[in-house]
Symmetry: C2
Subunit: 500 residues, 2 copies
């Protein structure tokens, strides 16, 4: 006899978190590995999430004055080579195009031919190619600022990949801006970090810590890198978005110069900022449970699913009619500024199987409708943020009046739960002993807030020993303290954690 499954997802989070993550993705049909090493296929349910993420972020970018454009997929070798730190950061893991045709050899196997004069690199990020264009577009201070974003695919030849979190090819947006002054560029860098924080909180329902990266974790070529860091349910950190102040580094390597209003030729100041399909991974890992995916309502491809329950054939017409009418009514409702996304699941399949299917897909609200519900003009309502068994009967009229509120409640409940978890697993530490004992168990983690005044070398030492890194110097932390590693007083606080 087959072992009875205790939860919809096996193993559970507690049993094996990484494997649980893979199984949640599989059960929700979000994505899968492809035969191309390290490249994933994003399936419709997963891509629907990304589309919703794109829509919201795109609106936020436009509201902050940015426009979209599109730049080439390929970067000539000579461009990548212009910025020394940058090339060091990306040359080791990149896809290199060397030929422009294939020709069959004597065995009929296609062999690369038509060798290119200069190899092309599939963009791992676009600072250098975009910088080259900007150097032509910018002549005078009147041409500034340039505020452009690109939605694109990029490739980094990662050796160990994991769906959504780290893949050789991934989808992202990369903002690239040019400014006349340092002040303005820094302001842009921090503004976009705020946009990411707002998006994480208000849409992903994920609390994040905003802060600056240490030198060791900086984007190659940046003057300063800022990130938002989220805590997953295994208490590890995940960097969910970054915003870089590039100073004049890329302006100098790409020759982005302008004539100031005083008639001086000056190098411009640039920024770049990005988030990727990794956000989908964060969303999964923060909210999902042992029954599968749990979606934050604002980004769910469907807000509500209606599941007709038809015990006998004689009930079919009445139940179906009622469900279709209900779907029509719900489609007329809004959630925030969006019309409600409502699926009616009329597939020929057992009701229980359907219900569990939608639980595993993470739909925020499930409405089961059987003959008795039709009689009572009601529905049997399940919320994905609560236990699968925790359902209640609601009259149709109440449902229509309260559905927007229910979705808002679910968002808030998910956010508060994640915030509570983050707080409960964040500890302030002031001594080395405490630090090492907290991180002694390799499986344990959580965030440690601790004063820090160490060097990049010391940071590396600690990380080699403990697998713990400094996630950021949090911006909302005003306190200082004595760094337990160096004894330096009035050191700023740093967030330490194991991370993805």
């Amino acid at each position: 006899m087959a072992k009875k499954q205790r939860t919809a997802i096996e193993p559970t989070r507690a049993e094996n978190y990484p494997e649980w993550y893979q199984q949640v993705i599989k059960a929700a049909d979000l994505a899968e590995n492809s035969p191309v090493r390290g490249c994933m296929v994003i399936k419709p349910w997963g891509y629907g999430l990304w589309e919703n993420i794109q829509k919201v972020l795109d609106r936020m970018f436009k509201e902050t004055g940015h426009e979209n454009a599109y730049f080439p997929l390929f970067i000539p070798r000579s461009f990548l080579q212009k910025e020394a730190e940058h090339v060091d950061g990306f040359a080791k893991e990149c896809a290199v195009v060397t030929h422009s045709r294939l020709e069959a050899d004597e065995n009929g196997v296609l062999q690369p031919t038509g060798e290119l004069e200069e190899p092309l690199i599939v963009r791992p990020t676009s600072e250098t190619i975009i910088g080259e264009m900007y150097s032509k577009w910018v002549q005078s201070y009147r041409d500034l600022p340039i505020l452009i974003n690109q939605w694109a695919n990029v490739v980094r030849w990662e050796m160990r990949t994991r769906l959504f979190l780290r893949t050789a090819e991934f989808l992202w947006q990369e903002g690239h801006t040019v400014h006349a002054t340092q002040e303005e560029a820094v302001e842009e860098t921090l503004k976009m970090l705020d946009v990411y924080e707002t998006f994480a909180r208000d849409y992903l329902a994920v609390p994040v810590i905003k802060g600056e990266k240490t030198a060791a974790e900086r984007f190659p070529g940046a003057v300063s890198t800022y990130s938002i860091e989220a805590m997953m349910q295994d208490r590890k950190a995940l960097q969910a978005g970054t915003s870089h102040f590039l100073g004049q580094n890329f302006a100098k390597s790409s020759e982005i110069k302008f004539l100031s209003s005083e008639g001086q030729e000056e190098y411009a100041w640039t920024t770049s900022w990005g988030v990727s399909t990794r956000l989908v991974g964060a969303m999964i890992m923060v909210h999902s449970d042992d029954d599968g995916l749990v979606l934050p309502p604002k980004l769910a491809p469907r807000h509500v699913v209606i599941i007709p329950v038809i015990p006998k054939e004689e009930h079919r017409d009445a139940v179906t009619d009622y469900c279709r009418k209900l779907q029509g009514e719900l489609l007329g409702c809004n959630y925030g500024d969006q019309p409600l996304r409502v699926e009616l699941d009329e597939r020929d399949m057992r009701g229980g199987e359907k219900v569990w299917g939608w639980v595993k897909k993470g739909v925020p609200v499930r409405l089961e409708v059987g003959p008795r519900d039709v009689e009572n003009d009601a529905v049997f309502l399940g919320r994905r943020d609560k236990a699968a068994k925790d359902r209640q009967t609601v009259s149709r009229k109440d449902l229509l009046q309260s559905i927007e509120g229910i979705l808002g409640d679910i968002h808030e409940a998910l956010y508060q739960r994640a915030l509570k978890f983050q707080k409960e697993n964040t500890k302030r530490i002031e001594t080395k002993e405490e630090f090492y004992s907290w991180f002694a168990n390799e499986k344990e983690s959580g965030f440690v807030i601790c004063p820090w005044a160490g060097s990049a070398e010391l940071e590396k030492e600690i990380s080699t020993e403990t697998k713990v890194t400094i996630r950021c110097i949090p911006m909302d932390e005003k306190k200082t303290g004595t760094c337990p590693f160096t004894g330096t007083e009035n050191a700023p606080m740093a967030v330490f954690a194991r991370s993805y």
Copy 2:
């Protein structure tokens, strides 16, 4: 003394059509060539057009039951090789990735290293990689149909490139569907062709001829290829979208098999269909004039631009206030199901220069507002489908009531003008003499409708001699005739033209 420019764009269409096309793009700031061979940069105004095209098509695809997904950028060599005709069609012009890192040589030049076991091809189209995934997803007739679309970049190593019309990298959508029966797959192929025709007519304002391609022009690996063909203002044809019935060819090469409801294992039937950034080129070439870009209103990044005209500083406040209020009122109006997109151009620049800037950018409606207009509570309105000088005063009240109608009129005027041009330059021909004399002048073209029953060889002969190809066998043409090339009676009609 500099020669006075007669038109905003030089040369004119009549003087040098290809160069006029480049200059229209430049004047409207739509796109430009990049330093990467054959790859263009799509600038914000051009990308805004593509975004609007995407939004509308995406909605139309979803309304016809399709979902979006995302598949890898890279195709392993062995996959491309599976379908013989397909590989022949694409192997000659493709970007081949052979290495996974760069390392500096003794001269500090980065050299490709980390050779891949199997070269990867940057997708020129995705039938083979998507087919591989589908072969895993499809087991039973219950898994069918699969109706998936992908928005992506693709690369074809074209030797002669032209902005939007033919570039090495381009953006497109590719639909890939799988069906249980031939009938259903053919129906899908034709349904999506209809979607493209509707989109061209109702959004691009471009009349097209829908038809089937001859064998010589078929998609490599397809059983039949259908296209929509539009006439440019130089009377050449441009293929604006294609839809392919792939039969069981790709199902066989990718092993997409399913168990039918009768328990038989069968190969599935597949289709693919796509349009690309080429549509932007079509839009430019069909509508624009010697003063620059003319945009079909439904896809214009801005429907209306308001240009304050401030003769003296003392007028600034009154004019500016009036314009801002007007912008607010217009933003509250709709055009179809979209809110009006209204720009207020407050740049510090001469009024005339601004006006010509917006003419060249193709904005459908320009509103100039000077002190006298403020006094009369009116605006000076120019329509981009009319001559730049042909403007009239309209009261603010009338404007707000009629703006949606005016935009609708512009769309209709553009469409009717293009349709008239197409009809005037389409000729029915029944003899060889007439055919050759019509196409005798290499610069002349137009569409010729002529009965056709020739072979692929004969078609090639004609095309080598005259540079004229068969664009399609039009579907809306019921008549038949005697093919002047072969003497065959009751031959279907074909559309001949020179083409892009």
